[in-house]
């Protein structure tokens, strides 16, 4: 009973301490897209190897005292002062570095997102064994020896839809002697967009499968000539304006109205009776499907209409809206 209460107390205390510490770090190292490391941001403490080294020094000191051996004293003191000097060198190895956020790749839940950053040195000295990682991410150890900057890609599994924040980036180094650990936590203000989990469902409601493509489109202007546009790779030979070509004009394709109208509307209201997360999942699924089928599609959501289109950019825009729907910072 008592132990449980005690444990709870300790737990609470620890949580509060962590909260305080986080708040303190936040004040000290505010989020920024690029951070230059200086004394305000760098922490230094003996590493576990350094503590072991201290133990060795203690044994050496006792040997020196017991043998009354002045050269052993000198050696022990030389190593102890080497430790002191190493503090400056370890610190200098991290100081003057600038860490820039580049971008974070969007991902689906459960996937790995790629975070790209680069480290740049502002001073003429080389930096070695810089270890970077986010709490949950893969890590990397890099040197800045001859180059002035080095790019780093770290991967981390993302969570629910919305903006995924990897937390603070740990930059640490024990160079040159491994006896001291110098580190910092920086918030690079880098977030990965996590899309809704795509979830397949039956045929798209309201999309009749027995009719040809584009039948669902309200406007009927079939096969009406619409205009010319520059030939693009993949245009059917039937479309090519051969007459023009024969006249010596540039290669052009004819456009027909019906093609423009072969578009699908993804509508929030298509999935009546499902909760909003499920709707988002279905919409996401269909957006991916239609994109891969080269069908133009638009999105209608409460408070938002995206005109039909296609292409990666269009898809990403739609997925972003789906990802952020109903989230603080996203569209309502």
């Amino acid at each position: 009973m008592l132990t449980a209460a005690y444990k709870r107390g300790v737990e609470r205390l620890r949580a509060r301490m962590q909260g305080r510490f986080r708040a303190w770090v936040n004040r000290r190292i505010p989020p920024a897209r690029s951070v230059t490391l200086n004394q305000k941001r760098i922490f230094i403490f003996p590493s576990s190897v350094g503590l072991f080294f201290g133990l060795c020094l203690l044994i050496m000191l006792i040997a020196a005292i017991n043998y009354q051996n002045n050269m052993s004293f000198a050696l022990t003191f030389l190593l102890a002062t080497l430790f002191v000097v190493a503090t400056l060198h370890t610190y200098a190895n991290l100081s003057g570095l600038t860490i820039h956020a580049v971008r974070a790749k969007s991902a689906f839940p459960g996937q790995q997102s790629e975070f790209e950053i680069y480290i740049e040195r502002t001073k003429q000295r080389p930096h070695y064994a810089l270890h970077v990682k986010w709490a949950q991410s893969t890590d990397a150890t890099v040197n800045l020896e001859s180059d002035h900057r080095v790019e780093i890609r770290l991967h981390t599994a993302v969570g629910k839809r919305g903006w995924y924040s990897p937390g603070r980036l740990l930059v640490e180094s024990t160079f040159p002697l491994g006896l001291l650990r110098c580190w910092t936590w920086i918030d690079l203000d880098l977030h990965a967009l996590v899309y809704p989990q795509p979830e397949a469902c039956g045929p798209l409601p309201g999309l009749a499968t027995d009719k040809p493509d584009g039948a669902a489109v309200a406007i009927v202007g079939s096969d009406d000539f619409y205009g010319f546009r520059d030939y693009q790779l993949g245009d059917s030979p039937k479309q090519i304006h051969w007459k023009g070509l024969a006249k010596g004009q540039a290669l052009q394709s004819k456009q027909y109205g019906a093609y423009a109208d072969r578009s699908v509307w993804l509508d929030w209201d298509m999935f009546m009776g499902r909760d909003s997360e499920q709707r988002l999942s279905h919409l996401c699924y269909w957006a991916l499907e239609l994109e891969s089928d080269n069908v133009e599609y638009g999105l209608r959501m409460p408070g938002l209409v995206i005109q039909p289109g296609s292409g990666i950019k269009h898809r990403d825009q739609i997925l972003k809206e789906l990802a952020l729907y109903g989230l603080p910072g996203g569209r309502q």
Binding site: I59, I62, Q68, F73, L78, T81, L82, V85, A129, P176
Partner: protein, 674 residues
Amino acid sequence: MRPEQQVPRNALVWIIITMFTLVAPHVGRIPLWILGLYAIAVFWRIMVYSGRWSFPGRWVKVALTLTCFSGTFFSFGTLIGLEPTVALLLAAFALKLIELVNRKDGYVLLFLGYFLCITEFLFSQDIPIALYSLLNVTLITTGLVALNQPGQHRFNFKTIRLPALMLLQAFPLMLVLFFLFPRIGPLWTVPLKSLTAKTGVSDFMKPGDISNLSQSDEVAFRVQFEGEIPSREDMYWRGLVFSRLVEGAWTSLVYYEIPVRERREKPVTTDGEPVEYSVIMEPTQQNWLFSLRYARPLGRGVMRAPDYRLFLPIEMEDEYQYRVRSWPDTVLDRELSDWRRRTELALPEDTNPRTRQLGVELRRSAADDRAFVDTVLRKFNQEPYIYTLQPPTLGEDAMDEFLFETRRGFCEHYAYAFVVMMRAAGLPARVVAGYQGGEINPVNRTVIVHQFDAHAWAEVWLEGEGWVRVDPTAAVSPDRIEWGLEQAVSGEGTFLAGSPLSPLRFRSVAWVNTLRLRYDALTYQWQKWVIGYEGERQYNFLQKLLGEVSGWNFVVVLLGSWLLVLLPVALSLLSKRTIRRLSPAEKQFVSFCNKLAKAGISRAPSEAPGDYSRRVVRLHPSMAPQVTQISALYNELAYADAGLSAARRADLLEQFARAVRGLKMPSKHQGASE
């Protein structure tokens, strides 16, 4: 294994180099199979590295460890002692190499290396060893740096630069700590002791022992006199007083054999002018000290024996220094106690009958004790007795054989025979062992006493005079006392015959001798100020330096001097040149931008120089010619730089600078009307 936990190849090479430099000075005191172990370990690790072999399995490791322990036991006969311990440490160091899998193992290995440096100092703290250890520390530290430098796939000699620099920066800090750190006594005694005997006078003297010792050119001790250095003939360094003759060997009295009331030195009235001097002894692993008679120690720690010699309660494992005041003219033991008289007359009944007989006869024919002593000395001097470094070995009745047959002997033979004759005739006498003479180093006026100055002489007790020094060797070979061993045996060419390269054999070559003496003077300073820096010397030094020895003073001096060193280091580390240095053209362009910024048209960070110029012209059409020129010049200098000749570039830069200097800013009014 995670890649950053791997040991980089560069580190591996440095560690292997370090292994060999660490083991090198121990060769000679460790069994040879340990070197074999090193070769095997390195070979094995290289095979592992090249992927042909694998790391040893657990049982192999256990077997190797057991082999090392039993090997050490068989080589030394014991596992306790300094040499076996060092041998085991060195073996562990070699074995750890074939276990060197990740960086953690590397740390253990290198820290063990630092510890091995210390073991070297337990054998010697001389200048060469200190310098060599500094090299070792640099190499070990290089190993540490290499271990922390990932991605070094080949041996890189330049790795040594950073650790060398760091040690250089740490060195002055170490000196401060070295001089300030209070030297307290050992926390517990029984430190491991060395098993190898040191050369030196021993408490067990048989004929032939001192002549053996005289083959060595090692330094026994060095003496610095306060005033005048006494003459050579007077420098009899007493170390041991041999009162007991047992089975043909002389030994001193054992403490518990002495009756309690005889254990303390008798009160002595000192006579004449004292001499004051300090002695630095090389480690002897014995506990007796050498001094001129009659000596009293200055300072604590040194004890006095009832036969007027000095000793330490513990054995000397390191250099030891002590200060002494001596009164050479003092009468010792004006009265002799019964016990003392009995002891100093005792002779084994069954040996050397002829010698004892001769003693009795010579005494009978002499008028008094003094005349008897002179008769014996005259006998040595006038009969064909020879002083030699190579005396023949003697049998059971050694002195009979020596006196009547071989007649060739070293100092211990003459002292021995003399004392036997004295005791046989009823005159208390004893053998004294120590050193005689010494070499005066003109560089620092120290007296260097070598092992070949080892000597044995006699003391007889005369009524009214107490103990009187008699040196029978002086009767045989006056040169030995007046000039030293080298002159005394120059006829037979046996001086340091065993060490042909000893610099002492080349004393006639001026530059060798000068070098030797200078180095010896340096060694003396080293022993005095570095190795012997403790206790009183430390206190006096600190008092002179700080005025007052207190904890507060220590802290101030320590922090002050450390800051003095660390601040410049920190500044040089943290204020390295920034990388982007502007080219001359860029500098001019920046000042151009600054000028315009003052007039309210600052360049946006994303704005290209050309766009910026066009914007300026749009805002201030009056400036068009100047700005266009500047823009064109900058474009040419910045983007066509590679194609420009040096002269052309200089010319353009000159124009550029002039144009920027001559840029007239539009007045505010003009700007506002726009």
